[in-house]
């Protein structure tokens, strides 16, 4: 039984202090172990209280009108060399003989 079905059947979310620590690392949020323990209880209670949402969404006749925008984690990071190339492409060009700066595309 996956987490969705567990929640839909009214079970608890199963979120524990280790999950909270993992989420905190992803969110770059420094938490003490004591904080993690307290937050795990809070998060478990909150997520459990929202457990009917997914089941409700499954009953809806239509899909969202627009697909959600890609989330930060889905956007591929550029390799450093690609970043440098992108900056160089966007930068104004300099005439080496006079030092004059020309707008991009003016050469």
């Amino acid at each position: 039984m996956d987490k969705f079905h567990l929640l839909a059947s009214g079970g608890m979310s199963g979120l524990g202090p280790e999950d909270v620590q993992r989420l905190a690392r992803l969110a770059r949020l420094g938490l003490t172990p004591a904080e993690s323990a307290v937050l795990a209880v809070d998060l478990d209670a909150i997520v459990s209280s929202f457990s009917s949402l997914a089941a409700f969404a499954e009953t809806l006749p239509a899909a969202p009108e627009r697909a959600p925008a890609p989330l930060r984690e889905d956007i591929e990071r550029l390799a450093p060399s690609e970043v440098v190339e992108a900056i160089v492409r966007a930068a104004p060009r300099v005439d080496a003989s006079t030092g004059a700066v020309r707008a991009k595309g003016a050469l």
Partner: protein, 446 residues
């Protein structure tokens, strides 16, 4: 001209005194006096808000004033520019007295989550004023200012209005520019006025509404953004068709339900037509709202890393408990494994809420029901139970999901105030205000 601005500022400062409500985080007494003299001297003395003193929620930028968003993380931040809505209030002759207390980054329903201490309800100092625009509501209820500018993400001006006994309006999403608003959940929130009466709301909306090239969401607004005060009193109750969603009374405290139904009865006795309608998706609106709120907040908070914004020394560990909870939950609901079950489900539920509103409003002018399910609760009563705290928002969040205008106006009540909520179609803010005025005129509680 509504009065001498210089005298108005002195009256406001006298009423504020030592601020026993902790309503203000920053008071600019000298700046307000200077500004009032300018208004009195210049052509602004004939401006629509001349002589009126206003408080600004501390998540709205005003150049030269601090902007903490209720967080120690921004304790030393001063924005280099002024929010569009604040600049427009000042251009209309209003004098800004200072910045008001709020739940940290607007994450709260009671006004207890500020890093600078909770705000207290002027009607009962042992009770919460409602949040997140807690100081805004308290500043009006205490009689310090007649007008306050807050923001509403899921009820953040309507909760303080209901708990403190003042009027507030969450405008149609996109009617008021968010430029200069420290955002929490960008698809749900916007600046929103509070006032001692409905006319004050309309005057403020006349000043702050309308297109702004700095906010891309403005293109979605259908209203022209003018003429809200004009014709406010033309709302004859006998011309109103009012939808009463049955779900708005489910789980509501019996005394609140009784008082709101009594007000609706008085409206009907004056000729309004009441029609029972249904918003079935309301039962899932609270969870959909919070899932989206978490997701958007977690994204918005990424910038407070101590480099771009915020206190590098305190670090992200310096956020309060509720902000941490929401960042963690936002990370959870948008994670690769959970996104379909939570974030995408919430988007689908949100679309259904909007469809429900369209259906419910098809044959009526406005919807009415209670603003809050209870009266103001005691400070600390729900502080350790986040789910119980979220439940306070059950009647307000759906308007933010649907992007429709929603206001709160006090009704006749013994003891602590009770708010009646009025909701309308997107872009019909003027009609919502007229309906609120019709209720206010009947109630005669001011």
């Amino acid at each position: 001209m509504t009065g001498d601005p210089v005298e108005a500022v002195e009256r406001a400062l006298e009423a504020l005194g030592a601020d026993p409500w902790n309503a203000f985080l920053h008071v600019d007494a000298e700046g307000a006096r200077l500004r009032a003299r300018d208004v009195a001297r210049q052509a602004l003395s004939k401006a629509p808000l001349a002589g009126l003193v206003v408080s600004i929620k501390d998540n709205l930028a005003r150049a030269s004033m601090p902007m903490t968003c209720g967080s120690r993380h921004l304790a030393h931040y001063r924005p280099p520019y002024t929010a569009t809505c604040v600049a427009r209030l000042e251009a209309a002759g209003a004098v800004v007295l200072g910045k008001t207390n709020m739940d940290e980054f607007a994450a709260g329903s009671s006004g207890e989550n500020s890093a600078f201490g909770p705000t207290r309800n002027p009607r009962d100092l042992e009770r919460v004023p409602g949040g997140s625009s807690s100081g805004a509501g308290a500043s009006v209820a205490a009689g310090v200012v007649p007008l306050a500018l807050g923001s509403d993400t899921g009820g953040s001006v309507r909760a303080p209005a209901a708990f403190c006994g003042v009027a507030a309006l969450k405008p149609t999403y996109g009617l008021v520019s968010r430029h200069g608003l420290g955002d929490l959940a960008m698809s749900l929130e916007g600046p929103a006025p509070l006032a001692a009466d409905v006319r004050g709301l309309a005057l403020m909306l006349d000043a702050i509404a309308g297109p702004d090239p700095h906010d891309a969401a403005m293109a979605r607004a259908k209203s022209s953004g003018r003429g809200f005060a004009e014709g406010l009193d033309e709302a004859a109750p006998d011309a109103l068709r009012v939808g009463v969603p049955r779900e708005f009374f489910e789980g509501v405290a019996p005394d609140v339900a009784r008082l709101v139904r009594a007000a609706l009865g008085r409206l009907e006795a004056k000729g309004a037509t009441l029609v029972e309608v249904s918003l079935p998706s309301l039962r899932h609106a609270l969870s959909a709202y919070y899932v989206l709120n978490y997701a958007e907040l977690a994204s918005a908070m990424a910038r407070y890393d101590g480099v771009r914004y915020g206190d590098a020394e305190a670090g992200r560990a310096g956020f309060g408990a509720e902000v941490k909870r929401r960042i963690l939950l936002g990370t959870f609901v948008t994670s690769r494994e959970e996104r379909r079950l939570w974030y995408e489900a919430a988007l689908r539920a949100r679309a259904e809420v909007a469809r429900d509103y369209a259906r419910a409003l098809a044959d009526v002018d406005v919807l009415m029901g209670p603003t809050m399910p209870t009266r103001a609760f005691r400070l600390g009563e729900r502080a350790k139970d986040p789910a119980a705290m979220y439940a306070a928002d059950v009647l307000t969040v759906s308007a933010n999901l649907a992007g429709v205008p929603a206001g709160s106006v006090p009704v006749r009540a013994d003891g602590l105030p009770v708010g009646l909520q009025v909701l309308g179609r997107a872009g019909e803010d003027a009609l919502v205000l007229r309906a609120m005025r019709a209720v206010e005129a009947l109630e005669d509680i001011s």
